[in-house]
Amino acid sequence: MTNNPATQVVAETALPTGGGSSIHVNDLWKVYGPHPRRALAEYRGGSDTVPEHMTAVRGVSFDVNPGETFVVMGLSGSGKSTLIRCLTRLIEPTAGHVDIDGNDVLTLSNARLADQRRNDWAMVFQHFGLLPHRRVLQNVAYGLEVSGVAQREREERAQQMVETVGLSGTENKYPNELSGGMRQRVGLARALVQNPRLLLLDEPFSALDPLIRTDLQDELMRLARVGSQTSIFITHDLTEALKVGDRIAIMRDGVLVQVGTPEEIVLRPTDDYVRRFAVEAPRAKVVRAETIARSAPEFSADTSASAVLTQLVQSGQGVAIARPDTRAPYTVTAQDLLTADPSERELGDIGADTATVDADALLTDVMKKLIETGRPAIVTSPAGECLGVIDDAATVRALSVPASGE
């Protein structure tokens, strides 16, 4: 698990810098059956089922911002794999609009489509989709070979990418000789070596063991952060979705049920279906400090302790913020005031070591600080403004799962 600095340097230079795609998808449909167009009219007219036909994608619309990691989560059969393939026309959609970087993908000529695929798009597959008759290096270089890159250049670039994903030394092996985790690293390298603006990942880690999966998720997030490509990530695992996604779309029976940030999905599920996933979510890794910060009365440091105590008792609150002139604000609890030495007449004399956390900090980190300092923490905005306090009670409330129907 040691960080090899040399590898890191290579990594930074080999990664794409072309910027990410922006995607607009509007009312996308995929209908299977003998007469998809006729059936589509019926579906749009409001009928739920049409005999002999089935829908994989039903009028899906969403936008993805450049550089974003957009996760589509759903159970098997929910149409998510079809959706991702419709975006690049690996499957031809029945109707709708897909706009990637200002191109109307569904009307692109075959030549333009091939061009886009060669230069701008790449995909990672659940079962890796490697070519068993080619060695690792040739697998990684395959996309470049198709694009007509000269052999020497493509092997150099492939070599760099192989090192970037941590596969040095396996260049001349065949995929069958690698473990599952390593195979998927080859898959990742093959996708990234083309310097894509859009990276599609179809359940890339589902076939891997839990520990390897975590490693590769971290790896992917590192690569995504260094490169600037847009990613669309398919998964059936909410924990994975919450970990890698900037935004998450929950898909069910071909329809997007909810689109939102991980926190929105977990804290404000729109219906029972989403709620059933949300209940299982590791909340401490999703909820941000800002969300649970509560306002507390602020007092200047020269306010008398007894006055503060009186006000806390009257308002029913347990924490106040003291703002001394000379140092950072700190929290004072009712207990502090009660147990304080009676000789200390002003807040400024109590003086305590209070933790300060960012608005975006996750609950796990906040909890660590609470335990370290033993007192409520102050939440500050990026501008340094005080947004409120978090105490033990607030964290417990945030972690406890509300009963369904709430």
Binding site: A122, D209, L211
Partner: protein, 689 residues
């Protein structure tokens, strides 16, 4: 979010090295590879040894070439045929009780069944078959049966058809019982399985044609001999499937039954046999197709049935007659195949599965109650036919003769057609024919006969040692040497010329067709039923179109061999290209590969092992057909076997048959050895390092 990301910046190549999926990888490896792996380590240890062996073989080959450059030396000949013949006749003369009762029994059984079937009015028999098919296997197949009956009646072949039915019942029934018994013996344990497997391999690799000779010597011409040959030929596939099916029953199920205290007998009947049922029924289908193929060929030694008019038509070169019988036989074979393949039976069971009562009386009771369905309609129609055939005792009561008296004959139209073909297409066909003769057969024949025999033996041994290991390599060399020792070197070379030319054509035509079939669904929809019928046909029938187009002779034989061998090539190419991992293709598509690139870089390389299997199948079929096409003038081993059959020359027959057997086995082993190396060279570096 961003904070979380920055906290995990590690590359962990070392942890993935110990990935537990590695063990999965190992179990996924093909069985063949696993079997080879201990061998591989052994060859590494003894590499020097096998290199030395190869040098010794090469030196021996050079010495042998210097000693006798042309032709197989007579010093290495031994007269196996004569010895076998005298030994065989000794036994048969001294102990007729060994085989005469069997012959009598089979012949008697056949007669009884034939008389029984003929005791029905033909209309009743035909209607019974048609309505039973309609009920159990669907209206389409019944329609096919109606066409068959109509064709047979119009052609005046009714009696032959009934004979074929009786013949198939006896041969199929006997082969079924024996096949199950042999399969059961094979499933007892690894030792019995090895013995049974070797026996079955030998039975199948020995050319079917060559069985005829000793059997004729024993039983004389006639139905008894034909029945014995058919049973021997049709038994192996069923026995194999039974034994495989029984051994593949899930060990969990067997364990759970044993832990319940089930006796061995009940274990077999309650658990193993029912679970092996799919494979037994697939084997039964194979058995029936094999028996009809052999039943046709056995017409040469006097078997009754549809084979007889075909054989007599071919031997008189009355192609119309042969074609007429051939069409009837094709229909018969297709109907039998469809009727005995399992998938159709399943559909029926599912449709009727739930509410079918158990036992005969409850079933009858339910049948008598409304609602009345298709079964009742068919029964009513059948009864109507029975009554009609009894009351209208005019020309239709006995209808094997068509209503207008003289049967339809294809002889004249076919002869006119052949004449038309030879006049209209003559120059073209002549060109093709001379091309094949000059640049194919003569050219290859010259090359083949120019190669010193010792070089061939040494090459076979060296390739065998390199691909399959020392023991097998030496055995292969010995096998090739034995062909010469049997005095069959010349004929074997002639056969190889025919087979090579036919295989070359198979690759040239079959591979593109397979690609077309894989890429174009419409082409696949057209080709698939044609291939189905071609593979259902007894290969013997494929001679007819070959003779019609190119006439009797070596080139016609090449064409017949080509037609027989091409279906597996097309079929396997198609499957190989279609079944390539979908994600690999999508990965290429998303990289922007054109469909041509995907075909060349992904589909063909990934499908190559399967395509090679198809080619191997084509090779075996071509060898089988090269023997059969001796009937239209193919030279080589087949011609010798044919002579032996016609003149009951046991010695010659057994020598030529053995040579054919050795040729097929060595070629098959060498081919699959090379194929293994090709396949494993693609997938692992161990061979290259």
């Amino acid at each position: 979010m961003s904070e979380l990301r920055s906290s995990s910046q590690t590359i962990t190549p070392t942890t993935t090295g110990g990935d537990p999926t590695g063990s999965m990888l190992r179990t996924e490896r093909s069985k063949a590879e696993r079997e080879r792996s201990p061998e591989k380590s052994r060859t590494r240890r003894t590499r020097l040894n096998s290199n030395a062996l190869i040098i010794v073989i090469s030196l021996a080959a050079i010495a042998a070439v210097l000693w006798e450059p042309q032709g197989f030396p007579s010093a290495l000949r031994f007269t196996f045929g004569e010895a076998f013949e005298s030994g065989f006749t000794n036994i048969t003369d001294s102990s007729p009780w060994l085989y005469e009762p069997l012959a009598g029994f089979l012949e008697g059984l056949f007669r009884v069944l034939l008389d029984f079937l003929n005791s029905f009015s033909p209309a009743v028999l035909a209607a019974g078959v048609v309505f039973a098919l309609a009920y159990y296997r669907g209206v389409k197949l019944a329609g096919l049966a109606v066409i068959l009956v109509a064709w047979v009646v119009l052609s005046g072949l009714w009696e032959y058809t009934v004979e074929t039915i009786a013949f198939m019942l006896v041969a199929g029934g006997a082969a079924f019982i024996l096949g199950i018994v042999v399969g059961l013996i094979g499933s007892i344990g690894p030792k019995t399985n090895a013995v049974v497997r070797i026996a079955l391999d030998a039975m199948q690799a020995f050319p079917a044609f060559a069985y005829l000779v000793p059997v004729v010597v024993l039983f004389g011409l006639g139905n008894a001999a034909a029945l014995v040959v058919t049973v021997i030929w049709a038994l192996p596939p069923l026995a194999r499937m039974v034994s495989v099916g029984l051994r593949n029953v899930s060990p969990d199920t067997v364990e759970s039954a044993v832990s319940l205290g089930v006796s061995r007998r009940r274990l077999l009947f309650d658990v193993k046999l029912p679970m092996a049922a799919p494979s037994i029924s697939a084997g039964t289908n194979q058995l029936i197709m094999y028996s009809i193929s052999m039943a046709t060929m056995a017409a040469m030694i006097g078997a009754a049935g549809l084979g007889a008019p075909i054989w007599s038509g071919l031997s008189r070169l009355a192609l119309g007659d042969a074609l007429q019988g051939g069409i009837a036989l094709v229909l018969f074979a297709v109907i039998l195949d469809r009727a005995t393949s399992r998938s159709r039976g399943r559909k029926w069971e599912r449709a009727h599965g739930d509410d079918v009562p158990r036992g005969i009386w409850p079933k009858l009771a339910q049948f008598a109650r409304p609602p009345f369905g298709r079964a009742h309609a068919y029964l009513a129609l059948f009864l109507l036919v029975v009554i009609a055939s009894q009351t209208i005792r005019s020309s239709w009561q006995y209808f094997p003769d068509p209503p207008w008296g003289a049967p339809l004959s294809l002889r004249e139209p076919v002869e006119a057609g052949v004449i038309w073909i030879t006049t209209e297409w003559g120059p073209f066909l002549d060109g093709v024919s001379t091309g094949i003769q000059l640049y194919g057969l003569n050219f290859l024949g010259d090359i083949y006969s120019g190669i010193p025999w010792a070089l061939v033996v040494a090459t076979a041994a060296v390739i065998g040692i390199l691909t399959l290991g020392k023991l097998q390599g030496l055995l292969l060399g010995l096998g090739v040497l034995l062909i010469g020792s049997l005095g069959m070197w010349g004929p074997a070379v002639e056969t190889m010329a025919v087979v090579t030319v036919a295989l070359g054509l198979v690759i040239l035509v079959g591979f593109p067709l397979g690609v077309l079939m894989a890429l174009n669904d419409r082409a696949a929809a057209v080709l698939r039923p044609i291939l189905d019928v071609m593979q259902t046909l007894p290969i013997y029938l494929l001679i007819i179109p070959a003779v019609m187009l190119l006439g009797v002779g070596e080139v016609g034989a090449v064409l017949a061999t080509f037609i027989a061998a091409i279906p597996p090539m097309i079929r396997f190419t198609n499957t190989a290209l279609r079944e390539v991992d979908g994600e690999a293709i999508e990965a290429a598509q998303i990289s922007g590969a054109t469909s041509g690139q995907i075909l060349r870089q992904i589909r063909v390389p990934m499908g190559l092992p399967t395509i090679v299997v198809g080619l191997n199948q084509a090779l075996l079929l071509a060898l089988a057909m090269a023997v059969v096409s001796a009937m239209i003038g193919a030279p080589g081993l087949g011609a010798d076997i044919l002579t032996a059959v016609n003149r009951a020359l046991l010695g010659l027959g057994i020598e030529a048959g053995l040579a054919m057997f050795l040729l097929a086995v060595t070629l098959d082993r060498l081919f699959s050895g090379c194929a293994q190396v090709v396949a494993s060279a693609q997938h692992s570096t161990t061979n290259n390092q």
